[in-house]
């Protein structure tokens, strides 16, 4: 019997090695798998490369992982926020490497990794600092149909940590509202994907027409009580029945 339901966060995260590239879902308060990040801090892997849209807020979640000095490099689109204190301090002290990626390129590089695309040309960033490699040399460019494009490569993860709303033992997932954000493409892009969900349902209980991430992209599902994930200072509206 296929059963991807993990008994606990620590079971789900066992064996993540030092040096791993970890894709972490979420955008703002929506879809951040905070319990999995806390689990990763406990699990202890070091020298990580983390991919997230941001670089941590406040002192919890991703910021706590950075604070614990587990992250060697962060790949993101928008590290600078009003409350990105932990990242700011590490960056200014030269203790963390930053690869800045336009948000759409970040999403498409993840998708490309998941879809087996070798590389892709995009107009985003042409003529800007984002068309340069970290060492300052120019990225490959090409004029296609009269428009200049930059060659961008896939972004693969060893592990993806994502948050969904509902899952089953085959790993099928549905998300809630804008918490979907990077979850589906990160699930595709990683060797191993761990999803936290608020609800585990029987096979067949989710409408097959409405499954967003099919279980083929998911390795482990761990249930987290919804009340534990109320973060960000917003109130939750009453939850509708999940399909």
């Amino acid at each position: 019997m296929i059963n991807k339901i993990a008994a606990s966060v620590s079971d789900a995260l066992a064996g993540i090695p030092d040096g791993a590239t970890v894709l972490i879902g979420g955008f703002g308060t929506a879809g951040i798998p905070n319990e999995l990040i806390e689990g990763l801090i406990e699990q202890g892997a070091r020298e990580l490369t983390v991919v997230n849209n941001n670089a941590g807020n406040g002192y919890t979640g991703l910021a706590a992982l950075l604070k614990a000095n587990r992250v060697r490099k962060i790949i993101c689109s928008f590290p600078r926020q009003a409350d990105s204190h932990v990242f700011d301090a590490l960056y200014r002290a030269g203790q963390i490497e930053l690869e800045l990626v336009p948000q759409g390129n970040l999403a498409e590089r993840l998708r490309a990794a998941g879809a087996g695309i070798g590389a892709f040309f995009t107009p985003t960033g042409y003529g800007t600092a984002m068309a340069l490699h970290a060492d300052g040399t120019p990225k490959e460019t090409r004029c296609i149909d009269g428009r200049q494009h930059v060659l961008e490569y896939p972004l693969r993860g060893d592990v993806a940590l994502i948050k969904a709303e509902c899952g089953d033992r085959w790993g099928n997932l549905v998300y809630r509202k804008a918490a979907r954000n990077f979850g589906p493409v990160m699930a595709m892009a990683a060797q191993r994907t761990v999803a936290s969900v608020h609800e585990v349902v029987e096979l067949g209980a989710m409408d097959p027409e409405a499954i967003v991430t099919p279980g083929i992209f998911v390795n482990q599902v761990v249930r987290i009580a919804p009340q534990a994930t109320l973060g960000g200072g917003f109130h939750a509206t009453p939850r509708e029945a999940t399909p």
Binding site: R80, A178, G232, F234, H235
Partner: protein, 217 residues
């Protein structure tokens, strides 16, 4: 000497909103552009896109109705209109890159007369760079409009012959909406769309510091 008045922040937002046609799919950038949503008349059906995976975004919720899973690109709580949809980030940016988005409205540090945009970094040493979705929006939407104060706090025009700040995109801005005038960026420079009442073209050119053609492009 003629007298004229700057558009207030709300008047500027209303001026931008006036040009958004029925049926348009629009992305409003973080900061000042977000205000435009408040001035789109209720009877005009416009679909707002948010890059974190929302089409059909509505205004801010009433106090107490905020939902931590329903936020805009500026991470503020929003609502969803009937007919709205959620999707993942790669689809959201495909909507830009694929040319499906009619208009995006962005803020700017500098815009060149030919529409080069600088809005993500002032390039100051020691500053932490952050680009977000600006580069994808700027080159992806069918029309990119900038909404900004014409002058810096030091009184220097933000419309320039060539951007000195790091670029967001080349020749991507078609219109600039400011507190004193609305201008079109074209390959042969600026054209006037409108200016606030009482402001002469000579006075406007003096403030902008760049030639402005008055005939329609």
């Amino acid at each position: 000497m003629s007298t004229w008045q700057r558009r207030s922040k709300d008047e500027l937002a209303a001026r931008v909103a006036r040009d958004i046609p029925e049926g348009a799919i629009v992305n409003l950038g973080i900061g000042q552009p977000t205000r435009v949503a408040n001035f789109i008349p209720a009877e005009r059906e416009v679909i707002l896109h948010s890059e974190n995976g929302i089409l059909g975004m509505g205004l801010a919720p009433a106090p107490g109705e905020e939902d931590y899973d329903l936020i805009n690109a500026g991470k503020q709580p929003v609502t969803l209109k009937a007919g709205g949809a959620f999707f993942h980030h790669a689809d959201s940016f495909a909507m830009m890159r694929g040319g499906h988005l009619d208009i995006c409205v962005l803020g700017a540090f500098q815009v060149s007369t030919t529409g080069d945009l600088a809005n993500w970094s002032t390039g100051e040493p020691g500053s932490i760079p952050a680009v977000g979705g600006a580069m994808d929006l700027a080159v992806g939407a069918r029309q990119t409009w900038v909404m900004m104060d014409l002058l810096t706090k030091q009184g220097v025009s933000k419309i320039v012959s060539a951007c000195s700040y790091p670029l967001t995109g080349l020749q991507c801005v078609s219109r600039i909406y400011t507190e004193v005038a609305t201008l079109e960026c074209t390959p042969d420079g600026l054209h006037l769309i409108d200016a606030v009442e009482g402001l002469s073209i000579e006075a406007l050119q003096g403030m902008v510091g760049q030639p402005i053609q008055v005939a329609a492009p």
